[in-house]
């Protein structure tokens, strides 16, 4: 069973998307070709079934398929707590969003491309999730990057304002503060490549040093001991470049904001629920086996975890603040996603001091966040569809017309921000507890960052809810009687209830622990604060007195300058110098030398005057000279 199931898990979605991909090349836009999308969703369904099967029936353990046995590199699949849940999560979300996409993407001009990359993404994600081998993980990882690029730039024509990010025509200084899809794709892939290559190096280095690439088999303590303090820091930081860029941590956050130029389904699946979470997931998976809590004798490891802790939490605060200033539906959600990812990093990094439980908290937060944020994105997509506007707008009248969306939004936001006694409250309590616990090792700064983030985060999501359904600006509504889309996000949001049930009843052994932490009074105080922030955000989604600050925040604190001005600027200067160098070499080799030869050549031929006496003078002169010199030389 296993030997068929596991390859099928990855191959099925890709194979099932090929028909529509090829059909679209032959006859783009044909009705029959559009029907093939159902086949691709069927491929996602197969993956989902297998992932669930793995979740419920597989023993913990590893499964190997031969790949490069000569090199001790194989396809090694691991089934442990993290991968089983993450795989099932990916399967469910991908399938639900696939169903949503059937309706959302109807009539699109590039469905072959869309479904191919969508399904390839799912396969890659599952590969990342289940892989124990780092090289195999990298294949999935590269697949994620590629799919993300392909899907962000899906509407490559840049002809529809609805697919842009930022206010079209707005400039700050020399920069255009709006980004078309093709630009979004380029920003995504360039950032991700920047991170992937150092990570690739780290993987190769691990292979060079240990001779194996199986995360669970490497003797990490021995490895860190071997390479010493500097080596550990270097290796880990280079490795983490991959997760950091993929999970859009500072300073690599910009691409995630402009990734919103992709279709909303893509934002929901890739840029909130799964792909960006893959960075944190990989960090958790590595920490799970590195077991940093056992490596306190190695100072390098501590430095790395402190680094991750602060990068994560600072990014979280940054993301949450930016989210409060955003007016675009999807960008707001993207910023808040970045914030959540930061929290996951921060919390997982605390495992160095707190132990394995910190990873579990972060992981549960990942799951909660994935369902909630995917729901919000799907709602946002529906709203954009219905209002033809990517900026927040809507009021209670709209909420009445779109009851399911409204309800889903309320549930998702409330369950996600950490209002007691809903799902995220318990998970966040765990997080508060973890960060609080490490205060005597790293001080109060992390806790402060965490609480600030939680408050702002709550306010931002409340703003999203309020501005779209209660107090938003005016709008034009064009409902088309969508069925699948509400169905998809309603199902999605109901998953949060399932999680809540798991936590409260304690049927899931890890989740049960969160309840204890939720009863700690400090957690409850934070919960109250969050609730207050949510209420304020709902009541006053925009404060005109703070519009300057809002603009600064929605310009993402001028971070675009890094991506669009400083880095390219340096690049162009070098490219310009290189261009000069090329012209110089070119001129020297292909103008200078030949013209020197030409001059030389003409001077050689200038002695051909045609007079015999001249020739004789030269020739005989030479003969005499040589004879004299040789006679003298002999003497």
């Amino acid at each position: 069973m296993m030997e068929y199931e596991i390859p099928l898990l990855f191959i099925a979605p890709v194979i099932c998307s090929l028909p529509i991909a090829f059909a679209w090349v032959r006859s783009p836009g044909a009705k029959w070709a559009e029907k093939l999308a159902y086949l691709s969703v069927f491929g996602l369904f197969i993956s989902l079934v297998i992932a669930l099967h793995i979740l419920f029936t597989y023993q913990e353990g590893r499964y190997t398929i031969q790949w490069l046995p000569e090199y001790n590199i194989n396809f090694v699949f691991i089934f442990d707590y993290l991968s089983k849940y993450m795989g099932a999560l990916t399967g469910i979300i991908a399938f639900l969003i696939g169903v949503y996409g059937l309706e959302y993407m109807k009539g699109d001009y590039r469905l072959g491309w869309y479904w191919f990359f969508f399904n390839m993404f799912t396969a890659s994600m599952l590969l990342v999730v289940y892989s124990d081998n780092l090289l195999m993980l990298l294949i999935g990882w590269e697949g994620l990057g590629l799919a993300s690029w392909g899907l962000i730039g899906h509407w490559f024509r840049d002809d529809d304002e609805i697919s842009y990010v930022g206010t079209v025509g707005r400039k700050v200084g020399p920069l255009n503060m709006f980004w078309p899809p093709s630009m979004g794709g380029w920003r995504a892939i360039s950032t991700i490549r920047t991170g992937d290559m150092p990570m690739f190096f780290a993987v190769a280095a691990i292979y060079a040093l240990t001779g194996t690439l199986d995360i669970s088999q490497i003797h990490w303590g021995g490895l860190f001991h071997m390479i010493g303090y500097g080596g550990t820091v270097l290796l880990c930081v280079l490795f983490l470049m991959g997760p950091f860029t993929k999970s859009a941590q500072l300073p690599f956050s910009e691409w995630l904001m402009t990734a919103m130029t992709g279709p909303t389904t893509v934002s929901a699946l890739l840029h909130s629920a799964t792909m960006v979470a893959a960075g944190t997931y990989v960090f958790m998976r590595m920490s799970w086996y590195i077991q940093p809590w056992n490596l306190h004798s190695m100072p390098g490891v501590e430095v790395v975890y402190i680094f991750v802790l602060f990068v994560g939490l600072i990014s979280a605060l940054y993301g949450a603040s930016v989210a409060t200033g955003c007016r675009e539906r999807k960008v707001l959600l993207a910023a808040s996603t970045m914030s959540s990812l930061g929290l996951m990093f921060g919390c997982a990094a605390a495992s160095y001091w707190f132990g394995k439980f910190a990873i579990l908290v972060a992981f549960w937060y990942l799951i909660t966040h994935a369902f909630a944020k995917a729901t919000l994105f799907l709602v946002a997509g529906h709203l954009i569809h219905a209002t033809h506007d990517r900026f927040s707008c809507g009021d209670l009248a709209l909420a009445k017309r779109m009851k399911v969306a409204f309800a889903a939004t309320i549930v998702a936001t409330v369950f996600l921000v950490g209002i007691p006694p809903f799902t995220a409250y318990w998970v966040k309590s765990g997080m508060d507890e973890v960060i609080h616990h490490i205060a005597h090792e790293v001080g109060m700064a992390p806790l402060t960052l965490l609480i600030l983030t939680s408050l702002l985060y709550s306010a931002a999501l409340a703003k999203f809810m309020s501005q779209n359904f209660i107090k938003g600006p005016g709008y034009h509504l064009h409902l088309h009687g969508e069925k699948l889309m509400p169905l998809a996000y309603a199902t999605m949001v109901s998953m949060l209830v399932v999680l809540l049930y798991e936590i409260l009843t304690g049927t899931e052994h890890v989740a049960g622990h969160f309840v204890e932490m939720g009863y700690v009074s400090s957690s409850f105080i934070v919960g109250l604060g969050v609730t207050a922030a949510y209420v304020i955000g709902t009541y006053k989604p925009s404060i005109s007195a703070l519009s300057k600050l809002g603009t600064f925040l929605s310009d993402r604190m001028e971070m675009p300058f890094l991506n669009d001005y400083i880095v390219p600027g340096v690049g162009w200067v070098i490219a310009w110098l290189v261009g000069l160098g090329n012209s110089a070499i070119d001129w020297f080799c292909h103008r200078g030398i030949p013209s020197a030869f030409n001059r030389f050549s003409r001077s050689i031929r200038s002695i051909q005057v045609g007079y015999l006496r001249v020739y004789l003078k030269i020739a005989l002169g030479f003969v005499m000279l040589v004879i004299v010199v040789s006679a003298m030389g002999w003497w």
Binding site: I618, A619, W634
Partner: protein, 406 residues
């Protein structure tokens, strides 16, 4: 040996017959050439076949257009061929020098015939030739003299004069002044002979003489040879770069080629690789002879078949699998083997400089293929260039045999 004597006799008859019938003269010349093929050894046979092939090409070139002495000219070519063949047999100093003169003198006549017969050119040519011959002969005498009465200064002088004479005879810089003028101003058909087969004998003669009289002093004197060779290569190749007339380019190309061949004489200082040096020199001479004959004939008829012209040009550049590659390979091998890596390096620099103008020659002579005598000549030349598709081991044997007897 007897065959050579017989063919000389035949040629005498041919010259007489030519007054009556050109056809008869041709046939007799060809018969004389055919007689040269009667040789005792396989190595000599290969050599004579190549020489006869070149002579036939040259003869064929002369038949493209009638000239003042049509009939006699065939015999003159055959005479040079006989001398070229003859020098292979002999190690006798007197015979070597006789062959040298024999190969040189017919060209005095040839240079004056053709459509563009021009006394001025002829005077330039003959003046230089006479000077060259004198220098060469004096040098040779001095060298032989030192064999019996050793004297370092005389040896040095003899060596230098021999090389100077050789250089002037074949057109090495800086005594090359006559070459561009003669090649450009004279009729291309006789030039196709002058630039071709006549270059072989002087070099073979020089080789034989220098080997016969070799002395430890040679090692010092090779630097002088290298100097002439390098100057010649650079002058020829660079001079050709901007020359416009095809015949002028070819003239400079000759200067350069003579430079390449001259480099091989430096290997005299270390006898181990002499056979390679001689093989390279001889093969380069053959390439030069075949290619130049074909090019000059093409100039006369204003171009021939495109692929053939390119093929010959590529052979001159020295690309495998053409013969021009192997000649350069042998030369480079001998130079590297004898420790003259710097000279080898300069040779390849020159080889690269030569590319543009050879391509230009090929392009300026390239025309659609139409059957004709010039095309046939180019075709035969191309075939000869292509016989080295199978690496010419045999040629090294030939060269070794030719100088081995010395």
């Amino acid at each position: 040996m007897e065959a050579v004597v017989a063919s000389i006799l035949l040629l005498t008859v041919a010259a007489a017959v030519s007054l009556k019938s050109e056809r008869g003269a041709i046939w007799l010349s060809v018969a004389a050439l055919a007689l040269l093929l009667v040789v005792p050894r396989i190595e000599l046979l290969m050599y004579s076949m190549l020489i006869v092939a070149i002579a036939l090409i040259n003869t064929a070139s002369l038949t493209v257009k009638r000239n003042q002495i049509t009939g006699v000219d065939y015999s003159l070519v055959a005479l040079i061929a006989v001398a070229t063949m003859y020098i292979a047999y002999t190690n006798n100093p007197a015979f070597i020098l006789a062959a040298f003169v024999l190969a040189s003198v017919p060209t005095y006549i040839l240079v004056m015939v053709g459509d563009r017969a021009n006394v001025n050119v002829a005077i330039k040519y003959i003046t230089f030739m006479v000077l060259a011959t004198v220098l060469f002969l004096i040098g040779a005498f001095l060298l032989f003299y030192t064999e019996y009465y050793p004297s370092e200064i005389l040896y040095t002088l003899g060596f230098v004069m021999l090389i100077l004479g050789l250089g002037m005879e074949v057109g090495c810089a800086p005594m090359h002044e006559w070459v561009p003028d003669v090649f450009t101003a004279a009729d291309p058909l006789p030039v196709s002979v002058i630039a071709s087969i006549t270059k072989i004998v002087p070099f073979v003669a020089a080789y034989k003489i220098l080997i016969l009289t070799s002395s430890p002093l040679t090692a010092h004197l090779t630097l002088f040879v290298a100097f002439i060779a390098v100057v010649s290569m650079f002058t020829g190749n660079i001079g050709a770069l901007t020359a416009r007339e095809t015949s002028r380019i070819l003239a400079y190309s000759t200067v350069a080629n003579m430079g390449y061949i001259m480099t091989t004489l430096v290997v005299l200082s270390s006898q181990n690789y002499l056979y390679l040096a001689f093989a390279g020199a001889l093969l380069q001479l053959i390439v030069n002879a075949v290619g130049k004959a074909s090019f000059f004939t093409s100039i006369k008829v204003d171009g021939t078949s495109t692929p053939l012209m390119y093929l010959i040009a590529m052979s001159f550049i020295g690309l495998p699998p053409f013969m021009g590659f192997y000649s350069k390979l042998f030369i480079l091998m001998s130079l590297v083997g004898a420790g003259f890596v710097w000279l080898a390096f300069l040779l390849i620099v020159n080889s690269a400089i030569s590319i543009p103008y050879y391509v230009r020659i090929a392009r300026s002579l390239a025309r659609p293929t139409i059957p004709g005598r010039a095309t046939a000549i180019a075709f035969v030349a191309s075939i000869i260039m292509l016989i080295t598709v199978i690496p010419p081991n045999w040629f090294v044997d030939v060269a070794t045999y030719l100088i081995g007897g010395v």
